[in-house]
Structure formats: structure tokens, C-alpha cells
């Protein structure tokens, strides 16, 4: 809207009009300037609604639950740089206006060019910030953003869905990603079995609500840690110790069974050998009728022994597979623990995975962050658009009024940022 207002000068069609009417003014300024001031008043209300929304949502959030800049990767110094850039551009556009007013056209154009470049610089920094938000999955998306307010079963099911998608994508691709520490299929499988399924199982089986909560929270913590959590570290260490103990209790059983199986198998092969020998012996001498003599006692005994041995072997195999079933998740869990626990920055960050993560109020943060900075950036873009229209024009005394109006608009954009900077970056 700004370009139309700044460009529509009162004397637009004056040449065709034979006798312009005489008016009295209430305010000692041009119509364009008055309109710009009125427009800025409406803009104040627009940004009041947006910033007010942010303020009440932000400060209505329970004490301490709003994400800190570090948790959502907001870099304070980038915001400070952008503030500096906008302040500079405010000064340069003032100089551009002053130069135009005193008919120094080249100087005016130069200052306006500097302002435009600074505005582009602001957008560039903004772009860097947005790119980092995008690469971390910290943005609203439909139907559900990756951010969860708490680690609950909805989080788990969403995680499972996203993980399956990621696995399917990789399985289709067959080519490993070229990150320095790529999330290979194997890693994803390990996350699926060693973490997701483990936690799902634990939450499904456990009757203790505290236990469920700790399981879920430690899961979320390993995906995307928010702060040092000694309780979770302790829980994980305890779990690990428990599991290793279990592994050690199971291991001897396992070797017992295996030796048992081995013995049984040995016996089976011996027995079946002797049975085969006896049988062929017997079958080599048929009687007159052409029939074979009946099996000898030894042979029958051997056969009974064979059946016993086969049963023992079968039992042992079953027990082994049962034990393996029991062992497998424990082993996967231990593998996952030993592999992932070392990542201070969490699995998501380490593998650039963009899997759902738990950041209390992360959604509200992302919504308000993108709403505020987005609408502000839109105003910057409109400003740049107007600058680009003005740049090729002769910025002389006649155009100084237009320059002034554009300047007013630009200062307003600066003022909005002056308030956004502490609210978004420093609070």
C-alpha cells in the first residue's frame, strides 16, 4: 500500500483540470504526508495486535517453560547485527532526504542506494536465521509441526510415524547421505529398535506412571536435550547397569543351553549313523519271501534314543530362540545406549535428522517468532520495492516530499524492529 500512497501526489491530474478548487487545510502538511502518518497509525494497530498476541502468549506461559534462545538456536548477536543494520539504514535515509531537499541529487541517490543495500543486508541475515531454523525443523508445518509440548504417547506415535517415513525414504534411495556423520539406515534401525520400540514397550508394560514418564522423558532427552538432566542421566545409567546385569545372568544360561544343544546334536548324528548302518545291514539280506528281517532290539533302542535326543535338541533350540528374543532388545538397547549416550547435542542435532522433538512451548515460540519476524520482513521487502522504484528517479527538491514519506515508512519499520529485537532475542 505504501507505494501507491507515496506516489499519489495531490496534483496528479492537475494539468487537465482547468480551475482547481481552493481548500483550507487542518494540518500544515501535504496530503501524502498526512496519509502516510494515518497509514502508520493503522500499522501501529496491526503490529500491536501481533506483538500483543506474542506478549500475552509468551508471558502467559508457565514460569520458565518458554524456550531459551539457546534451546531454539536463536543467536542474539545476529539480532544485534540486524538492529545495527536497520539503525544505519534509518540514518542513511535521513541523509538521502536531506540531500534531496537541498537539491544534491547524486548524494541523495548515493544515500538511498546505501539504504537499499542495508535493507538487503537485513534480509540476508534474516535468511541465514530462517535457514538455520529450517535445518533444525523448528518451524510450523501442516498437519503437525515437529515440536511437541511434552513427551507423551502422541509424541511417541508421531515420532514412530516420522521415523518410518525417514526409513522408507532411505530404503528407496539406497545411497547414503553425504554428511560427515550420516544417518545411515543402520542408525535409523537402531533408533527404531533400541529406542523407540524399547520405550513403546516400556510405556505399554509398565504400571508405574512415574516410570512411564521417565522412560518417555529420557527418550525425548536423547533425541533433543534441552538442559542438563541429572535425573535422566541417572535413570539411563541405572537402566544400563540393570541391563548388563540381565545380560550377564542370561549369558551362562545361553552357553548351557548351547552346549546342551551341541551334545544333543552330536548324539543325534551318532545315533542316526548307527541306525542307518544297522538298517542297511538288515536290508542287505532279505529272507525267502523277499521281506526284510524285523529291526533288531538295538536298532529299536537306538531309535527311541534318537527321538529323545531330537526332542532335547528341539527344546534347546526353542529355549535359545526364546532367550534370543529376550536378549535381542536388551542388546539393541545397550547398543543404542552406548552409541547415542555420548552425543551431548542429541540424536537429532548429531545426525541432522529432523525427527519430532519435545520443546515445551516450542510451537508457540515458532508460531510467534515467524509471525513477528515474517510480517516485519514483509514490510522490509515492501520498503526495498519502493526504494528500487525511487532509485532511477531524479531525487531533487520536488521529489523530496516523496522521499520524506518513504523515510517515515522506513523509520516505522525500524521502530518495529527496535521492539522486536529485545522481545525475540533477549527475553
Amino acid at each position: 500500500m505504501a507505494p501507491q500512497q507515496t506516489n499519489s501526489k495531490p496534483s496528479d491530474d492537475a494539468k487537465e483540470q482547468p480551475a482547481p478548487l481552493v481548500y483550507q487545510r487542518a494540518m500544515p502538511m501535504s496530503r501524502g504526508k498526512l496519509a502516510i502518518w494515518l497509514f502508520l497509525s493503522t500499522e501501529i494497530m496491526f503490529f500491536t495486535a501481533l506483538i500483543g498476541t506474542y506478549i500475552v502468549l509468551r508471558f502467559g506461559a508457565p514460569e520458565g517453560s518458554w524456550p531459551t534462545p539457546a534451546q531454539v538456536g536463536v543467536m542474539e548477536w545476529l539480532g544485534a547485527i540486524n538492529t545495527f543494520v536497520l539503525i544505519c539504514s534509518s540514518v542513511t535515509i535521513v541523509f538521502a532526504y536531506e540531500s534531496a531537499k537541498s537539491d544534491r541529487i547524486r548524494a541523495a541517490r548515493g544515500w538511498l542506494l546505501v539504504t537499499t543495500l542495508l535493507a538487503f543486508g537485513f534480509l540476508g541475515v534474516k535468511g541465514i536465521e530462517y535457514a538455520s531454523k529450517y535445518s533444525h525443523g523448528l518451524y510450523p508445518q501442516s498437519p503437525r509441526s515437529l515440536l511437541h509440548d511434552r513427551s507423551d504417547v502422541y509424541y511417541l506415535s508421531h515420532f514412530s510415524l516420522q521415523l518410518k517415513q525417514r526409513i522408507a525414504e532411505l530404503e528407496d534411495q539406497k545411497t547414503p547421505t553425504d554428511h560427515h556423520d550420516p544417518a545411515t539406515l543402520e542408525t535409523l534401525y537402531l533408533i527404531q529398535s533400541g529406542m523407540l520400540n524399547w520405550t513403546e514397550n516400556k510405556v505399554g508394560v509398565s504400571n508405574d506412571p512415574n516410570m512411564k514418564r521417565l522412560a518417555l522423558e529420557s527418550f525425548a532427552h536423547q533425541i533433543h536435550p534441552l538442559a542438563d538432566r541429572p535425573d535422566i542421566d541417572k535413570y539411563l545409567a541405572d537402566e544400563r547397569a540393570d541391563l548388563e546385569e540381565q545380560q550377564q545372568t542370561i549369558a551362562p544360561q545361553f552357553s548351557d543351553l548351547e552346549s546342551k544343544l551341541e551334545a544333543a546334536q552330536k548324539q543325534i548324528s551318532q545315533l542316526s549313523d548307527s541306525i542307518a548302518k544297522l538298517e542297511s545291514n538288515r536290508k542287505s539280506k532279505p529272507n525267502v519271501n523277499g521281506d526284510f528281517p524285523p529291526p533288531t532290539e538295538i536298532e529299536q533302542k537306538n531309535k527311541a534314543q534318537l527321538e529323545d535326543a531330537e526332542k532335547t535338541a528341539k527344546d534347546a533350540t526353542e529355549s535359545i530362540s526364546l532367550l534370543k528374543q529376550q536378549m535381542n532388545p536388551i542388546e539393541r538397547r545397550l547398543e543404542a545406549q552406548s552409541r547415542f549416550n555420548q552425543f551431548e547435542d542429541g540424536i537429532n542435532e548429531h545426525f541432522h535428522l529432523k525427527l519430532p522433538m519435545v520443546i515445551p512451548n516450542g510451537n508457540t515460540w515458532a508460531n510467534t517468532y515467524f509471525m513477528l519476524t515474517g510480517f516485519h520482513a514483509l514490510h522490509v521487502v515492501i520498503g526495498i520495492f519502493v526504494f528500487l522504484i525511487l532509485l532511477p528517479l531524479e531525487l531533487d527538491r520536488k521529489r523530496a516530499k516523496v522521499m520524506e514519506n518513504v523515510g517515515l515508512y522506513w523509520h516505522f519499520v525500524d521502530i518495529v524492529w527496535i521492539f522486536l529485537f529485545p522481545m525475540i532475542y533477549l527475553f
Partner: protein, 133 residues
């Protein structure tokens, strides 16, 4: 704008540069406040930073937007907007700004206090769980 004309351009320029210096200084100041002891009570820190922002905005409005040199119409245009804007935000506070003060249990969020679990229960339940898994 009409009344700014009778100012000396050179002096005008020093005014603008001084204002610019103050703006940079104030930005630095709010950056310092954010990382200083003032933020120990967050409410005070926020208030200070918003105050600094208001000062910066006043400087921009007064000098860059020439309001300092304008006649009294500036009040007619700026004060109603400020009044209505603050009215809107203030009247949102009881309903939205204080909404979590009396949330029902079903809407309770995970604040850090709610997350901490007594250490003893963690051990007991994990040993219970072992038998099942």
C-alpha cells in the same frame, strides 16, 4: 518538515549523527542488560529492556521522523494510536496473559517443576520393570 527548513544543515547532520550514536549505544546497553545481573529478576530485566527500546523508538520518532520540530498535530496522531494499542494489550492480559494461572489439570503444561521426579521412585520402578521386560 516545513519548520525543519530553517535549521542549519550542518547542525542538522550533527544532530542525526548524535542520535545515531545514542541508538547504537542503547542497543549495546540492552544487549548488556540481557546478559547481566539485572536479568536475575526477569521481570525487571524485561522492563528495563522495553524501557530502552521505548527510548530508542522515541529518538527515532522525534528526530528521524522530525516530530520534534512539528506542531501540535503530532499529539493528535500518535497519542490515540498509542492509547488504543496499549488498551488492547492490557485488556488481553487477564484472559490470555494470565491464562495458565487457573488451567484445569487437563490443560496443564509440562513446566520444569512438574518434570522433576523423586529419585527413589525411579529406582524402585525400574527394578519392577525388569521382571516384565
Amino acid at each position: 518538515m516545513e519548520s525543519t527548513g530553517n535549521h542549519n544543515p550542518k547542525r542538522q547532520r550533527t544532530v542525526f549523527l548524535t542520535v545515531f550514536g545514542f541508538l547504537v549505544l542503547l542497543t549495546g546497553l540492552s544487549f548488556w542488560v540481557a546478559n547481566s545481573w539485572i536479568m536475575e529478576d526477569r521481570m525487571i530485566g524485561w522492563a528495563v529492556m522495553l524501557g530502552i527500546s521505548a527510548c530508542k523508538a522515541m529518538l527515532v520518532i522525534a528526530f528521524f521522523m522530525h516530530l520534534w520540530w512539528e506542531s501540535s498535530w503530532k499529539y493528535a496522531l500518535t497519542i490515540p494510536a498509542l492509547f488504543m494499542g496499549s488498551m488492547l494489550v492490557l485488556l488481553l492480559v487477564p484472559d490470555i496473559g494470565m491464562r495458565t494461572d487457573h488451567y484445569p489439570k487437563t490443560r496443564e503444561r509440562l513446566s520444569p517443576q512438574a518434570v522433576t521426579v523423586p529419585e527413589a521412585t525411579g529406582n524402585v520402578s525400574s527394578s519392577q520393570d525388569r521382571t516384565k521386560s
